[in-house]
Each structure stands twice: as structure tokens, then as C-alpha cells.
């Protein structure tokens, strides 16, 4: 792998996801997201958000599953990068991570509108912690101010640490065991597998190309680096079709389908 740019990505096995929410809490704690008592699903900051969706049936035939939604780190025609007037978003050439720079962000929220996955969040308020709780903040991550957009950056602070460790050991490449995002580390069922998709020998690359793997809204051609896996055809269909196999009763799924429709027809 020496000399080849990395392409960090994930495969999330939806059959293993129990919707416990450990990834959401671990992500928020790792990235110093403030607890906001006034926040709602529309105004909160949830760089990792687990959504519950169903097959639209009722009674004993009803089936539900949980889909962790985060920045998909689109490789091609990255929508947020294309619309940002401030160059506050870019795809890091060395890692493939879609980086958000809050220092450059002016808060226009074009990127939020452009993101087909609704994976971007706006800081409507200054971050506030109860008195003293700022001592519990992760020293590797700066807090963000009111008026900027934020999203998952694959725990970039952990990549920095892994790079530092590799440099201290005289290595140019990081050891992948040193770089696992907080959500992947927290998942109690090991549903989130993280790796370098540019490395053909990485188990995650093989998993991303396995039979039941799919990408969210693959047909719009953004080439996300977050893959999903499910043996259930209705789950795969939900991700690939705006109209879907049934009428999905859960609001987040409707939102997903609506967003897909907007991108498709807009």
C-alpha cells in the first residue's frame, strides 16, 4: 500500500445493527458535541444518526431495521464540495475523507441542501455544557461555534494520533488497528467495519464487494465510501429506490425517500 492514497470507508452490516444508539453517543462524546436540551431531530447535531425504517407492513408481517446514517464521504462529484462558496469542504486526496473546515464555513448551508443523505448539521447555538463539564471534553477535537455546518469526519483526530504514532515508530503508513472511528469502536455487535477501501487486501474492501453489500442512493453516482450490508431485499430496495417496495411508515425513511426523489428529479 506504500505510496497509494488511502480511501477510508466503512461497511455497516444492518443485519447486526440492533439500534442501540451506542455509536451515536460515542460519536457525540468523541467529537465534543454539546448536549442541547432544546434540540429536536431537525435542529440537533448528530453526525451519526441511527434511523428506524420498516417494510411498511403491519402486524406479524411487519419488519423493521436500523440504518446508521452519517456522511457518506462521496468520492465522485461530491455534492457538498461542489456547492460550497467558501471552499470549506474538500475531499482529502490522501485519505478520501470529506473534510469540513468550520473556520472557513460562513453558514450558508448550501451543502446541507445539496447533501442527498441529510448527513450535515448546522450549529444553531453556541455549544454550552453544564458548569464544569467542559473538563470532560476530548482534548483532540476543537469545539465548534454557532453558525457553522458540521458532519462526520471519520474521527479525524484519531487519524492524527495514528499518524503521530506511526511517525514516532518510523513508519510511513499507519497501523489500521490504531485508527478506528468512535462509532466502529463502540458498536457492541461489531456491525460497523472500518478500513481502507483502496487496499484490496483489507477485509473491509472484500466485504464492500460482497453479494449483499450496497450503497445508499448508488444510482445518483456519488460513489459513497460508506457501504451497507443486508440479506433482506426490502432493505436493499429501500436504499436504491426512491419509491421503494412499499410505503414506509417511519418519518426518517420518508425523508430519505423524499431526498432521493429530489436529487433524482431535481
Amino acid at each position: 500500500m506504500s505510496g497509494t492514497p488511502a480511501r477510508y470507508g466503512m461497511v455497516i452490516d444492518l443485519d447486526r445493527c440492533t439500534g442501540c444508539g451506542a455509536c451515536m453517543v460515542a460519536c457525540a462524546a468523541e467529537n465534543n458535541v454539546a448536549p442541547t436540551p432544546q434540540a429536536t431531530p431537525r435542529t440537533g447535531v448528530t453526525p451519526m444518526l441511527v434511523r428506524k425504517v420498516s417494510n411498511g407492513m403491519h402486524g406479524a408481517t411487519r419488519r423493521e431495521t436500523f440504518i446508521p446514517i452519517m456522511c457518506m464521504h462521496c468520492e465522485h462529484e461530491t455534492p457538498c464540495v461542489k456547492v460550497c462558496p467558501q471552499q470549506a469542504v474538500e475531499v482529502d486526496k490522501a485519505t478520501g475523507i470529506v473534510m469540513q473546515m468550520p473556520q472557513r464555513c460562513l453558514g450558508c448551508r448550501y451543502c446541507m441542501t445539496a447533501c442527498p443523505y441529510h448527513a450535515r448539521y448546522f450549529n444553531w447555538r453556541d455549544p454550552v455544557w453544564p458548569a464544569g463539564m467542559e473538563k470532560s471534553l476530548n482534548p483532540g477535537v476543537a469545539t465548534r461555534m454557532r453558525g457553522v455546518v458540521e458532519k462526520c469526519n471519520l474521527c479525524h483526530a484519531r487519524l492524527h494520533s495514528a499518524n503521530e504514532k506511526a511517525a514516532a515508530a518510523g513508519r510511513r503508513e499507519i497501523d489500521m488497528a490504531d485508527y478506528v472511528p468512535a462509532c466502529g469502536e463502540a458498536c457492541p455487535t461489531n456491525a460497523i467495519h472500518f478500513g481502507n477501501l483502496a487496499d484490496q487486501n483489507d477485509p473491509v474492501t472484500r466485504e464492500a464487494h460482497s453479494a449483499n453489500a450496497f450503497r445508499m442512493l448508488a444510482r445518483i453516482g456519488t460513489e459513497p465510501k460508506v457501504y451497507y450490508k443486508s440479506k433482506d431485499p426490502w432493505v436493499r430496495a429501500l436504499a436504491e429506490s426512491a419509491s421503494g417496495p412499499g410505503k414506509f411508515s417511519e418519518r426518517p425513511a420518508e425523508r430519505l425517500a423524499a431526498s432521493a426523489s429530489e436529487v433524482h428529479h431535481g
Partner: protein
């Protein structure tokens, strides 16, 4: 020289144009943008050395292993301890933000007496007076700790010691009454089970040590058409566990007992199980009419239950019918069923009988908030967070999350005995005293937590049984000295005992004297208990789960 208006305008325009060629406006713009992005009132993380320490979660009795990252001496991040032999690095969602709990706005920071601020000296004086006037009942949440020994020793001289058992331990209570084997000596051998039938137990959503069963399920069942571990979930609605179960059986709410009786009767009549236990009185037709299932569906369920042994049935609470089904299935004392893990546990009687006669009740901070006795006795309630202050005369601030040295005995559902020591990782953020320290201040003969942990380590070393799970796994027989063993335990290792081979207790368990099918004798909450209690105090980031997403229902005040 006369300065005209025109001169001023020309001079001003020239100055403006000239300044544009200097760095001044750009510097000002730069400074303004930097200032506006670094407002002084935005908190920034503290700088300081970052370390990783091992400890154990004390939010519930399961004691999951933690890797705690500290920055500048304060916990700044939590992750699971992958070397923990039971939980294997898995934690519940709350644990990941538990280090923020110590600064929760509801953190109890001062002694409160009848809702007004008081002092430790006043609380000690009141307790001393109560001790001299009558009996004291000490209520413990997690039995078997060093603090529990202090409570027991104190209560032996001055009153009674009682345990507010966890729901998982309460679910084992029927076996205790039928076999005489204490409920806290029993565990579920899930690692060897091939079929788990859950009657409303949230198996994938916080049952037992959260990581234990979810890890097993993920490895042996998730996404498999014919899993090695079959999880059959009986639930009225499509719960989180039902969603992911191998089979979900939807029944009318509250009719689990009827389904259990119907399935057990079919199994016994068809001789699909050894003739263990009595015949349920309910017919299959009655069971079907009550549950809303067809008789064929109940027959199919019964056949599925026994199709892939070993099988164990697990109830959501204390349900004697589910326990009787386990007797019929022969799951008691067998591999993959309900097993004996300890021979030294005691039977703790209910607190209901002793509390009304007490002069004072001391409630440890490990006891859940819903344990609020309505009694004339003076209540000394230890708590780290103010969850129900209006129910106790005295509310005493206890150490918060990882603020004190404690030990972690076996989790309520574990199939083997374990022991770990959870060192204090965080500095106390208030003047706090644990209930054990408080009681020890009244009795000089009581040992300290530290000494009891030391003695327990020596005891494990002398027994020479089991293994230590730390960075590497070491049989206790190969550990050089008791001091080495204690050092390892205090730095995050876990001792795991060997499966028990105590013939007498096991035979008691196997015999399990159940003469007739149990009626619905689930004990109702005593009328002495308070009718309602407040919502539990959760880490503030738990808002993500129920307020910023539709993942869970928000915690609410509950009414009995």
C-alpha cells in the same frame, strides 16, 4: 493656508486609498474573523497529558470493563475493555457519555435535609441519635462488594441488611423458592445455549451485561437463516429485540403465562420433554384464546423450542410460569441452561418486613431511585444525583461515576463467578462520602473498602482456581504471589472462576421441588412503596437517543 472642504475630501480619499495598499485593513479583517471564530465564551478542551486507564462501570451491577481516556487528570472518553472475558469490549450507549455525569446539573453537591441544605455533621448527629433509639436497616443495591461487607457488619450489630435485587436476579427468585439455592448463586449459561426463548426480556436491549448477549447474538445469529443461536422473542409489539430475533411471536399483552402454560402442556403431553414438573392446568385451546394465537401456532412454537437444545427460557421479570417451563425443559443445572455459579451466596429476605419496624433506613447509592420506602423511619438516602430528594429526610451526596475505589463482584446473570477492582479514575467534584465510609465513621471495628479488597485478593490467590484476564490470560495457579494478583486486579484485570462442581447444591437445583404448576403469584409492589418516582438521571448526551432521533422513548416519571 486655508483648508477647504474640497481639501478635506481629497485628503480623506487619498488616505483611504493609501491604507488599502497597507496591510492594516487585511490585518483587521483577519483579526476580526479569528476573533469571531474563537469567542471567549466557547469552552475549549483542557490541555494536559492524555492517559488510558482501566476501570469498570458502576452504573449498574453488571460492571462492564472500561478503557477510560483521561486528559489533564479528568476522564475525557470511554471505550469498552476488549480483554474483558464476559463483555468483550461491548458497552451500553449510556456508558460512552457516563464520564459527563459527574457534572450533571442534578449532581448532588451538598447534604440536604427535608429539601434544604444541611451539613455532614448534622447528618451524622441525626444518624447517631437514630442508632441509639432503634433498629437500622441498610439497603444495598449491588450485593457482594466490599461495601456490602461493611453494610452487613454494621447491620449485624444494629439492625438488618437487605438487598434491592436487580430485575435479572428477581427473575431467578422462583428457583430459589423451589430448590433452596439462592437466586444470586444462579446464572444463565448463554454461551452454551442453542435456543433462547425470551418472554418479554429485552435480550438485545440491555438485558444483563449489555455486551454479553449482543456479542453472542452477533457472532452466532445475526443475519443467519439457520443460526447457531436461535433467539425466539415473545412480545406483544415489535420491540428492538423482536425486530432482530430469529422468530418473533406476537401475542396479546400480558398473556405470556398462558402461552407458557399452553406450550408446556403440549410438550409434556406429547412427551417431547422428560416428564419434569407438573402439568399446567390450562388447555391448549384456552391458551390460544387468551394469547390470540392459533393452537397450531402454539404447537409449532413448542416444537421449535425443543428442536435445538440446549434451550433456556428467560422472563422479562419475576415470572414463575417461565421458571416452571425451564423445569419442564430440564434446563436447570444443565449446560446451556440455568447453572450454579457460586456456593457461598446467601438468601436475602425481602426488605418489606423489616423496614416498617426500623428507626432509620440507610439506602446506598447503588439502589435504584424506584426503591423509595414509604415509612415513618428516618431515611438516609445516599445518591450521586438528585433523583428523588423529596422522598427522603436526608439526601447525602455519594461519589459519582468512577470517583471512588470499589470492587465489582459477579454480574447478576453471569454463568461463572467473576471479580474485578474498579479504581477511582475521576476526582470527586463535590464533598462526597459513600454510605460505607459514613457507616464506618460510627464503628471503628469496621474494615475499610481497601482492606476488604486486599483480603478478597488474598482469598482468590489462596484458592488457586480460575484465571486472570488482563493483557494476557494467566491461570491463578501461575501467579507468583497474592501481591502480584492484587496489582493485576487493581490495574484492570478480571478474575474468572471455574464452573462450579458442588454436587449437593446442584442436586437441589436438579430436583427443584415444584409440585404444581405455579399460579400467577408474581408479587405486586408493596403498598408501602411510594406510588411514583422521578425519571432517572441520564448522561446529557443521551438526548441524542430520544430527543434528536426517534430511536427511543424519553425517560418519564413512572407511576406504579
Amino acid at each position: 493656508m486655508k483648508v477647504t472642504r474640497r481639501d478635506l475630501l481629497v485628503w480623506g480619499a487619498g488616505a483611504a486609498a493609501g491604507i488599502a495598499f497597507t496591510p492594516v485593513p487585511w490585518k483587521i479583517l483577519d483579526d476580526v474573523s479569528i476573533w469571531s471564530q474563537n469567542w471567549s465564551w466557547i469552552p475549549q478542551p483542557a490541555r494536559g497529558p492524555v492517559e488510558v486507564k482501566q476501570s469498570f462501570c458502576t452504573l449498574c451491577p453488571n460492571g462492564c470493563g472500561l478503557r477510560v481516556r483521561t486528559g489533564a487528570g479528568w476522564p475525557v472518553g470511554i471505550a469498552g475493555m476488549s480483554t474483558h472475558p464476559i463483555t468483550r469490549g461491548a458497552l451500553c450507549p449510556l456508558a460512552f457519555a457516563a464520564h459527563q455525569l459527574n457534572w450533571h446539573p442534578q449532581r448532588l453537591r451538598a447534604v440536604r435535609h427535608q429539601s434544604s441544605t444541611s451539613s455532614w455533621a448534622a447528618a451524622q448527629a441525626a444518624f447517631s441519635k437514630a442508632c441509639s433509639e432503634g433498629k437500622v436497616v441498610v439497603i444495598d443495591g449491588y450485593a457482594g462488594r466490599a461495601a456490602s461487607q461493611i453494610f452487613e457488619a454494621f447491620a449485624e450489630k444494629r439492625g438488618s441488611y437487605r438487598v434491592a435485587a436487580s430485575p435479572e436476579t428477581r427473575a431467578l427468585a422462583p428457583y430459589e423458592s423451589w430448590s433452596g439455592v439462592p437466586a444470586n448463586a444462579l446464572g444463565y449459561d448463554l454461551e452454551n445455549a442453542q435456543t433462547v426463548v425470551s418472554f418479554g426480556a429485552p435480550m438485545l436491549d440491555g438485558w444483563g451485561a449489555p455486551g454479553r448477549f449482543t456479542r453472542l447474538w452477533a457472532e452466532r445469529a445475526a443475519g443467519m437463516a439457520d443460526p447457531q443461536l436461535r433467539l425466539i422473542q415473545i412480545d406483544a409489539s415489535l420491540t428492538r429485540t423482536a425486530t432482530k430475533a430469529w422468530q418473533w411471536i406476537s401475542i396479546r399483552p400480558g398473556t405470556e403465562d398462558a402461552l407458557v402454560a399452553g406450550a408446556a402442556r403440549f410438550l409434556l403431553e406429547e412427551h417431547l420433554v422428560p416428564a419434569n414438573g407438573p402439568m399446567p392446568p390450562l388447555t391448549l385451546v384456552d391458551a390460544a384464546s387468551q394469547t390470540g394465537l392459533t393452537t397450531d401456532a402454539i404447537r409449532n412454537l413448542a416444537r421449535t423450542i425443543v428442536a435445538k437444545p440446549p434451550v433456556v427460557a428467560i422472563a422479562g421479570g419475576n415470572n414463575p410460569a417461565v421458571a416452571a417451563l425451564n423445569v419442564a425443559l430440564g434446563a436447570l443445572g444443565q449446560t446451556g441452561g440455568i447453572v450454579l455459579r457460586s456456593k457461598q451466596k446467601k438468601v436475602y429476605e425481602s426488605a418489606d418486613a423489616v423496614i416498617p419496624k426500623a428507626r432509620a433506613v440507610v439506602i446506598d447509592s447503588t439502589v435504584p431511585w424506584d426503591f423509595v420506602p414509604r415509612t415513618d423511619a428516618e431515611i438516609f438516602r445516599f445518591a450521586a444525583w438528585d433523583g428523588g430528594s423529596n422522598k427522603a429526610e436526608w439526601l447525602l451526596p455519594a461519589p459519582g461515576f468512577l470517583e471512588e475505589l470499589t470492587d465489582v463482584p459477579t454480574a447478576p446473570t453471569s454463568a461463572v463467578e467473576t471479580y474485578a477492582v474498579a479504581p477511582a479514575v475521576a476526582k470527586p467534584t463535590a464533598e462526597v462520602h459513600s454510605a460505607a465510609q459514613f457507616l464506618a465513621s460510627f464503628d471503628a471495628e469496621l474494615n475499610s473498602t481497601d482492606k476488604i479488597i486486599h483480603a478478597r485478593c488474598e482469598e482468590i490467590f489462596r484458592a488457586r482456581a480460575g484465571s486472570l484476564y488482563g493483557r494476557e490470560t494467566t491461570p491463578v495457579a501461575q501467579v507468583a504471589s497474592a501481591q502480584k494478583l492484587e496489582e493485576q486486579l487493581r490495574s484492570g484485570a478480571v478474575w474468572v472462576g471455574e464452573p462450579l462442581k458442588t454436587a449437593s447444591l446442584k442436586s437441589n437445583l436438579l430436583k427443584c421441588n415444584l409440585k404444581e404448576w405455579p399460579a400467577d403469584t408474581r408479587p405486586e409492589r408493596s403498598e408501602d412503596w411510594a406510588a411514583e418516582w422521578p425519571a432517572p438521571v441520564l448522561p446529557p448526551l443521551a438526548l441524542k437517543l430520544y430527543q434528536e432521533s426517534s430511536l427511543r422513548e424519553p425517560p418519564e416519571r413512572k407511576t406504579v
